[in-house]
Symmetry: C2
Subunit: 242 residues, 2 copies
DNA sequence: CGATAGTTTGACACAGCTCAATAGGCGTGG
DNA sequence: CCACGCCTATTGAGCTGTGTCAAACTATCG
């Protein structure tokens, strides 16, 4: 009986036991048998910032869960102008169902750890588990909402409002210690100034100027160029243009 | 036998027989029994330009197919600045699965005809027909791709490139006579200058100036303010910034 | 300690915004 | 049929926010 219990426990793959994606992410849709099947083909990857994960118009043969770090999704015009069209945080899913050609680039913005599966494994499971497909669907809807939210920022906000909106976005997604609804935040920026510029549709110089403006006005503090502290998120929100 | 045949034909609801959505749209996922069930609760609406279809943060109790015309999806900042975050053409689907609160406004940009169902009817069918859910999923993915494409336009293109991109978008979706791959196009603009401005994140005046620029340079012709003819789409593409 | 990459700061230019005037289209009513 | 008002679009003149280019500063690392 004791033995039996042990066997039962071991039905959840070792790899998955402490994995966040199993709870809040995609794998929460799977039963232990399915998890086991998937885990057989999955591998954990640890990836350095700057590494390209998916190339534009490459065919994509794997799907992944983001376990930690930030992945940026970018699009580039023929003359080299670039725009970041999305950021993926843990436990987001990376990959495009129903299409094996990507229309965008995915690149590690920070150090990133992934749990990666072959495309076919996911597609098979999707056919068998409606719950899995539904989770993917929900994430896609969320990404669509976020993309549209960002379109307003890109099309209608001033540079200052863009920076404030960006800091709020990061604060909400990154700050490790943030109890939901907290009025302060402190975090490392996952993006360089150049990345922030590409996300906001402005230049590096404008990003820099607006950050120093927020700093001199006492809205934020910046240490080591990357670490930002916001003492009053309300003040930041007031500058984000809402 | 003859009778039997007749009965068989009549299994497709009258309303649906000539409906485009049954072929290219959502309803293509449904068998005749399901179509029949849905048609019982569906109604056709004909809507005047400017009519609000879905209000921001209203609860949405119906879903619709766009049968003709153009619907604009907008978001508004607290101070009134507005951004169009999507355009829906026939046979697109209107509605937000898994959420009955809309985060945006939907408004008829032109005269629009809709086929509308109660939310519950669609949700029930979605649970029963994986194919239906899959079609919704695919449309959502397509909308996400389009939103991201547009983010590049908003963030990185000049006013002239934005206008060219916009005209191409409309040409591809509206021109009734356009054989795919045609090198010319002729169509009525579904949006006013103010709407175009809200879509492109610029002012009315800028839209006007860039349109006259394209006109004086011989890229497009404009009649009655609304009708646009493009003799060489290639030239327009060259100015769209790609 | 020099080299390199990332960031900040300054001076200036210009695309696109603002404000204002004009023009065109269209329905209503005399 | 014209006159009028209303709405939309165009055009002009000047202003300003953001881009461009260049230089200085800082951090990190061999």
């Amino acid at each position: 009986m004791n033995l039996r219990q042990d066997i039962h426990n071991s039905e959840i793959p070792v790899l998955c036991r402490s994995c966040e994606a199993r709870h809040r992410g995609l794998c929460g849709a799977l039963g232990s048998a399915e998890l086991l099947a998937l885990a057989k083909n999955s591998s954990r990857l640890c990836i350095q910032p700057g590494t390209e994960l998916i190339g534009d118009s490459e065919s994509v043969e794997s799907f992944s869960n983001v376990l930690s770090g930030v992945v940026k999704l970018t699009k580039t015009l023929s003359d080299g102008r670039q725009q970041i069209v999305g950021l993926q945080f843990a436990p987001d899913f990376l990959g495009r169902p129903f299409k094996n050609e990507s229309a965008l680039n995915a690149e590690a913005a920070t150090e990133v750890s992934l749990c990666s599966f072959p495309r076919l494994a996911i597609e098979r499971m999707m056919r068998e588990s409606p719950e899995l497909e539904r989770r993917l669907f929900r994430q896609t809807l969320r990404e669509l909402d976020e993309a549209r939210e960002w379109m307003v920022t890109l099309g209608r906000k001033s540079a200052g409002e863009k920076i404030a909106s960006f800091l709020l976005l990061i604060a909400r997604n990154i700050d490790p210690a943030a109890p939901a609804g907290s009025r302060t935040a402190s975090f490392d920026l996952p993006l360089t100034r150049a990345d922030i510029a590409d996300f906001l549709g402005v230049t590096i110089e404008t990003v820099s100027r607006q950050l120093t403006r927020l700093r001199t006005e006492g809205i934020i503090r910046i240490e080591h160029n990357r670490h930002v502290t916001v003492d009053d998120l309300g003040q930041l929100e007031a500058r984000s243009g809402r």
